[in-house]
């Protein structure tokens, strides 16, 4: 047997032992006088870079009549600004080798640019221009309404979970705007006005309401120089109004049913009220969620999928500024009634509350959390998301580096305590989507 080296040379030598993992001192940050904050990480593994701009605006900032406006704005940000007419943002970026996307949820709107590091200045120029002076062309608004209506309908057509989550949110929240679907209600998408759009831009797209993260084959000094040049002149504006509404305490279980004729198996969603990101219970809840639903050895996989009553189980939650929901979503194995599935799901949760978790089970989740942090750090995009999310939702990007220790210090008693505290009947909303009501 003979081992041979196919390719020797520079790449091979450079491959030898780099740093084991990302550390806080590798990350730099600065804030421009107008309040726009930048977080920069030099990372030269590939000759590319990214820019993730987090705006603290989402559907939680909306009200009836303008539901979906944050998300619509995400679209309008690509439709022209002072120096770049309609289509020019994308055309200019793509011609320099860059690509982009954006997403909106209840709490934030995030713009993602991915580009060869050499295109950094072009990207800053484009981003700076649309933040400083977006054009809201009525013609573009009309055409974009059609795009968003299509986005909304294709989501409902192709995804039961999307439909269920949308309707469940509107039942779980009675006062707080987390009740609003981020895509917006159809009638609002068709009806918002030019003035609504102009107000929204002025209110929320202030440089002091944004955090930009740049990771890649860049130099911090150069990022700072270019950031000052292209974003420094944008005037600071008053801080956007705070969301005042607090959700009153839920005092009993809530239920909803959605009929969808073509559903071949009932879908069940059970969601519990949980606190905001940054709360002291955050990491314990995150571990609880994984322990219940991540992997084939998780509690709910064993209780629902191994027993063949469900075909799949997933749990999810999104980081938010306000108390939100922890969702469990499962699809029936087909001929199994949804009552039986709900009973088994709740029994698994109750058993965790009653009997707690073992050291071994907790250690399993801790090990997985650590590996997943490494996995995210394998890409420049994973790093940018980690840093940006921690800055926005936990108040400091450095908290990214506290996560391993925060998981490590959790005890079985901590997990049992948060389960008992949050996974209570009075705090849950149960939704079913099926062909017809049982």
């Amino acid at each position: 047997m003979k081992w041979r080296l196919l390719l020797a040379g520079a790449a091979y030598a450079a491959a030898s032992y780099a740093q084991a993992a990302l550390t806080a001192d590798q990350v730099k940050s600065f804030t421009l006088p107008n309040g726009m904050k930048f977080i920069v990480l030099e990372s030269s593994a590939i000759p590319n870079a990214n820019m993730y701009t987090f705006w603290k605006v989402g559907s939680r900032n909306e009200a009836p009549g303008i539901t979906g406006l944050s998300h619509f704005f995400e679209h309008m940000m690509f439709n022209g600004s002072k120096h770049y007419g309609p289509k020019q943002f994308d055309r200019t970026m793509e011609a320099r080798g860059g690509a982009n996307n954006a997403y909106t949820n209840s709490d934030v709107t995030v713009y993602q640019d991915w580009f060869p590091a050499t295109a950094l200045e072009t990207v800053f120029k484009l981003e700076g221009d649309r933040i400083a002076s977006l054009s809201i062309d009525p013609k573009m608004v009309e055409s974009e309404r059609g795009v968003v209506l299509s986005e909304r309908s294709t989501g409902l057509e192709n995804s039961n979970v999307r439909r269920l989550m949308q309707d469940l949110n509107s039942v779980a929240f009675t006062a707080h705007p987390y009740a609003i679907p981020t895509i917006g209600w159809e009638s609002d998408i068709k009806a918002w006005t030019q003035k609504d759009l102009e107000n929204y831009f002025r209110t929320y797209y202030a440089p002091n309401n944004a955090v930009a993260v740049i990771v890649g084959d860049v130099k911090v000094d150069n990022v700072k120089k270019l950031a000052t040049r292209y974003f420094g002149g944008i005037p600071k504006r008053p801080a956007p109004p705070a969301v005042r509404t607090l959700e009153p305490e839920q005092t009993g279980e809530r239920r909803l049913f959605i009929a969808k004729a073509s559903a071949v198996a009932p879908n069940l969603m059970v969601a519990y009220k949980v606190p905001e990101a940054g709360h002291a219970d955050y990491y314990a809840l995150d571990v609880l969620q994984s322990l219940l639903a991540d992997g084939k050895t998780s509690r709910l996989y064993k209780a629902l999928v191994d027993t063949q009553i469900s075909n799949s189980i997933a749990a999810f939650s999104t980081d938010g500024f306000d108390p939100g929901l922890l969702y469990f979503y499962t699809v029936s194995a087909g001929n199994v009634g949804v009552d039986k599935i709900e009973e088994a799901l709740l029994a698994a949760i109750d058993s965790l509350i009653k009997d707690g978790v073992s050291d071994q089970e907790l250690q399993k989740v801790k090990n997985a959390k650590l590996l997943n942090i490494y996995r995210a750090q394998e890409t420049i995009n994973g790093k940018a998301l980690q840093l940006g999310n921690h800055e926005v939702f936990f108040g400091d990007y450095r908290k990214t580096f506290d996560a391993p220790a925060a998981y490590e210090k959790l005890t079985p008693a901590d997990i049992q305590a948060v389960a008992a505290k949050y996974l209570k009947k009075s705090q849950r909303t149960v939704g079913v989507l099926a062909a017809k009501e049982e």
């Binding site: 084991a20 590939i46 055309r91 690509a99 309404r145 795009v147 057509e157 084939k296």
Partner: protein, 461 residues
Amino acid sequence: MKQLMTIVLAGAAATAGAADFKLPAFETVKLSNGLTVYLMQRHEVPIIAVRAVVKAGAVNDGAQAGLANLTGDAILLGSLTHSKAAIDEAFDFRGGILSGGGGTEQSTVQANFARKDADTLLPLFAELVQQPSFEQAELDKLRGRKMNVLRQAKESPRQVAGTYYRAMLFGPAAYGNPPGGTVNSLGALKQADVKAFHERYFRPDNAALIVVGDFDPAAMRKQVETLFGPWHADGPAPQRADYGKVMADKPRVWLVNKSDALETTFLIGGPGIARNDPDYVPLQVLNTVLGGRFTSWLNDELRINSGLSYGANSSFNHLSQTGTFSISSFTALPKTEAALDLAHKTYERLWSKGIDKETLESAKAYVKGQFPPRFETSEQLAGLLGDMYALGVSREQVDNFMRDVDTLTPERARALVEKHFPRRNLQTVMVGKAEAIRGIAARYGEVTEMEITADGFLPKP
């Protein structure tokens, strides 16, 4: 790992500054039992990606659609010496990820775990690949779940439209087989079928073992030899056959009725190219112009100019011997006619107007700029090495990527459009409310109707 950062000299001013890309260094060896082994070191994070790639897939299913796919998943159900529960426990406890599956032409078993756990988990991985148990009770459960997944997939037109399209293009040939099978075909598969499939195709002279990530090369070589050296096979290795060609001798439409559809989902196209075709790279650039990026012609027309759809794109789908090409989009039911019409008109621009120099240069820059992130992680690199083994992708295609993009001229682009993009006898799949769109479908060819709720992806015989 740091890539080579040589500046491309061949390009014009527009390409100056674009970084070159070469596949990172790796070792390759063939063990005496015929197993091909690839080892590629990367040390950014203390993680190892391992994958066994076997040249077997839906093309080998014969009349038993879904057999390769079920076998690929069933590999994970335990080995002769370790139960499924013991294996799941071992991987989950260490934060490891174990997955598997059978595609059209390759089956993979994949593991991703911490460097320090290689001694514990790699032996389990080796057992699964070589001596899976296919334990009856677990196999029945898995098969039941997969049948349910197939039923549920039909709720979502976008999940199944491509499978109908492939079945339509290749007809009864092996490439037409639905990779996941059908509810009825899966229901008929027995443990003996799965065992026989494994026995026939999972053998060292028909497989590659790929290890990418943070490991000590000497120790890894030794471990691989110990674990995979004894694997042996009797008799000659399976050979590949002719898996079929696209049938496009007249325009045809398959209309798949989904009676409660809010929208119409459609695919339009015809034959494409094989994964190792010498024109693979330049065609990526041309497809970028047509439907491979946000400002592509299709997305520009169907989304940006008209608001008819949230998105429209086009792509080449590559197989080892041939391939398919398709335009795809979706639109609200009342806009079906307008969207299909505009998709055709836009596609025709490839011939009527052609691609100007400026657009071509932009697409070249885009394809090059988006190339390095495709091979950033150990999993991505392991996937590429797997394609090199199973689909015959040459490393020259990867290493010469930048050069092949740079040398593409408008003249050559025109010739490639003529040569590779199907212009006549287009094949169309529409999934939607048949009673409302039947007349529109008839404008694009001979219509065959079927119900989305019927088993499988073929019209009634």
